[in-house]
């Protein structure tokens, strides 16, 4: 049986080589402790102009490393699961719909960004502890395909109630509220409008009126919606989609050649106000760098640069809203909003009921 022993020796040797190889490269790459690198964990939609980021790196002396970690919801959840040993120093991209989950799980440590005083009052939260810094805002609204409604001589819907009317049967596609942040925002909008008692009835009507639900915003907007340029190519056949108030300007900005008016419009009575926050992660390795990065997110330079990169509105007073935004899609005037405490108390239960009601 010594043959088996030799065999063992060979494989064990092989294993040791492998393991030691791991060990050495591991110690070589353990660079996240270096204080000159600050790591930002975010969702896939994070974007910033290169020059603006370079300015920050030059002024602060830090190198910024960005980890994009999936959809907004997934990125938040993963950050919570790994909070004892986080992947980075700052997390950007938790919105008001999920904020309580992040705060209740102790994801962030307090830090008040230098320019916090410039944040418009309506976006400020957590004023006693300063665990999060508001960075941007936007409205989740139903968008419509102008060509479809012109062609069918039909007025586009304007309100939540309109969407349940027979004229709009089988026209709307929305996102899974359990997996997508606009999907959840739209659900919260209906809950804000109709109350805890009424939103289920509303969704029953919406379901009877043929609402289609897909998993993510990308699929809804770029494949199912007939009004977006990719949706048209993909043969999308739904002229109504739950998206953002800033989607029509995006259709124009990315089009080549640029049309005179946006091909899509916003049903202004269907909006829900979304606010995105950033915070310094608990157990961050580079807290000083993280603080500097949070300061940067509220600077005028970043706030001015941000809208056309991520198609969101700035939260800093007197920050510039790009002319494309006002020209091609007015910001909703009176969006539905909801108190963070009310969201925290009801969100999970609402999503569960919604899933049973609409999906199963």
């Amino acid at each position: 049986m010594s043959n088996t022993r030799k065999f063992t020796a060979v494989v064990v040797g092989l294993g040791l080589v492998t393991l030691s190889a791991c060990g050495s490269s591991e110690s070589g790459s353990g660079g996240s402790g270096e204080s000159k690198t600050v790591t930002l964990v975010s969702h896939d939609s994070w974007a910033v102009s290169k020059s603006v980021l370079a300015d920050f790196e030059k002024q602060s002396g830090y190198t910024v490393k960005v980890l994009k970690d999936g959809d907004a919801g997934q990125a938040v959840n993963k950050a919570i699961l790994t909070k004892d040993n986080p992947q980075g120093d700052v997390f950007f991209g938790v919105d008001n719909t999920l904020l309580s989950r992040a705060l209740d799980n102790g994801l962030f440590q307090p830090y008040e960004a230098k320019d916090a005083g410039f944040v418009l009052p309506e976006y400020r939260v957590d004023q006693d502890k300063h665990r999060v810094t508001p960075v941007d805002t936007g409205d989740i609204c139903v968008n419509y395909d102008k060509a479809y409604f012109t062609e069918h001589k039909l007025d586009p819907p304007q309100s939540f109630d309109d969407l349940t009317k027979p004229a709009y049967k089988n026209l709307l596609v929305t996102e899974n509220a359990a997996t997508s942040s606009p999907g959840l925002g739209f659900l919260l909008g209906t809950a804000a409008k109709y109350g805890d008692a009424g939103w289920q009835d509303y969704w029953k009507k919406l379901k009877a009126n043929g609402v289609k639900v897909v998993d993510g915003w990308e699929q809804a907007y770029y494949e199912e919606f007939s009004g977006s340029s990719s949706g048209r190519k993909a043969g999308g056949d739904r002229p109504l989609v739950v998206s953002y108030a800033s989607s029509p300007p995006a259709e124009v900005v990315f089009a080549d050649p640029k049309p005179k008016t946006a091909p899509t419009g916003v049903a202004t009575g269907t909006c829900f106000r979304q606010i995105e926050y950033a915070g310094l992660l608990s157990n961050a390795r580079n807290t000083e760098g993280g603080k500097a990065l949070l300061d940067f997110l509220l600077t005028k330079e970043f706030q001015d640069d941000m809208p056309l990169n991520m198609f969101v509105y700035p939260v800093r007073e007197a920050a510039q809203v790009p002319p494309e935004f006002t020209k091609y899609g007015p910001q909703a005037e009176d969006p539905q909003t909801m108190d963070p405490a009310e969201i925290a108390a009801n969100r999970d239960q609402w999503v569960k009921s919604w899933t049973s009601l609409v999906l199963k």
């Binding site: 919801g73 993963k78 359990a178 639900v213 998993d215 990308e218």
Partner: protein, 557 residues
Amino acid sequence: MDLARTEVALRKRVTKGGAARLGLIALPVAFFAAFFAYPVAAIVARGLKTDGGWQLGRIADVLTQSDIRHVLWFTTWQALASTALTLLVALPGAYVFARFDFPGKHLLRAVVTVPFVLPTVVVGSAFLALVGRGGLLDELWGVRLDTTVWAILLAHVFFNYAVVVRTVGGLWAQLDPRQEEAARMLGASRLSAWRTVTLPALAPAVAAAALMVFLFTFTSFGVVQILGGPTFSTLEVEIYRQTSEIFDLSTAAVLTIIQFLAVGAILAVHAWTVRRRETALRLVDASVTARRPQGVGQWALLAGVLACVAGLLLLPLAVLVQRSLDAPDFAYYRALTSEDGGTFLVPPIDAIGNSLTYAVVATAIAVLIGGLAAVALTRRDAGRFVRGFDALLMLPLGVSAVTVGFGFLIALDEPPLDLRSSWILVPLAQALVGVPFVVRTMLPVLRAVDARLREAAAVLGASPWRAWREVDLPMVRRALLVAAGFAFAVSLGEFGATVFIARPDNPTLPVAVARLLGRPGELNYGQAMALSTILMVVCAVALLVLERLRTDRTGEF
């Protein structure tokens, strides 16, 4: 000569061998404890243990929820339907590959195995390209099957065809046809001869194959994730949603336990059928049983099977390749090399290098752990403990990869196992899935090495080293290479666990494909198809090499 002395020496070696075996099994046991049992237990505890107490009442809560019951029901029936459909389509294929000789047979055998080692993400995207919006069927006839259950079932058949052909066909080829002929000689009708002679011999293999297919489809993740939409979800997909999207860790933990129990039961039945399969059958060399098809019926059968393979297996792969080339000048492939800030922070092409590195390391680990385990398990009189370990080794195949991935994240983050920021996590998770393949490939071969051969060599004066080199090595070496090949292929394609632990700036191929598919626009879609094609080619090459090495006794897969 001095036979008595040899006898004594041999016996002494046997006892020493027993002790050595215990030593051998220590490393695999430690590996599984640290990288499987511990992380899985940690994530389950995180979900079910609050304020120091186990919330076992949650189990009943979760089970009474109608949407969870819906998931359980769907998981079961789609697995049953997929298994039935796979058997229906693949059993004729098994017969044809076993009994007929035709040009290109070996190549085709390798080709039908390609889907099995393809990453589920690639299978999902191939079917999307075939039956999805703007897919081939949509273009030709306006038929769309995505978001219907048919897309899932067809993808499952595609994926598992080879399991049936290899498991059943492998045995069928070695059954002596003369037994059936003898029965017919004695007056039995063709049907009753088949029913009384061939079928009983074949039944355990069919059962084992069916159980493996059931296991793979019951725990299906990537395919359902891509093709299922929000309506269809298997247990595994639901575990993923509950953990990653809904963040209901206690529901996820309960579902993990349910899946664990179900998979345990399936594996127990599988182990039982495999043991039954090891009962003595009169086997002959496969090469003598196959012959040219004769008569219209046999040619028609061959043609039917080939058509099936072409339509179900080759067409999706071909569509995948075609979509990846659907832009002038290989634009999608060239796009892979450019850094795009949108999806990754690195050019997608980097994923190939990451994947290959990870897969090589994972293969080394899997071969080491699986090899040691297989050697330890070789003894037929192995104790109950060791036999139990055999079944345990199979568990990673069925226990939620998603759970393993999350478990890694939350469990392996403090000394002495602080691996959170280390790249080794990915190969470790991949090796977990590779080990069962290594064990299943090595075990039959190791068991088939007749101890008497070694003893004979010893009696003839060969040193133990020489006896090992001349007797064991030639037989084991091939199996080792085959095992390594399988481990490499499954590591390359592992998705469920890798998707959580691969760092965003170091994606593997399947992770990159999934992320590209999740992004809008033709360029991203084309790049996903191009990466999938590359992945497919790498897997296919690995398989073709394996097919050359394959021994007829190798493997239960």
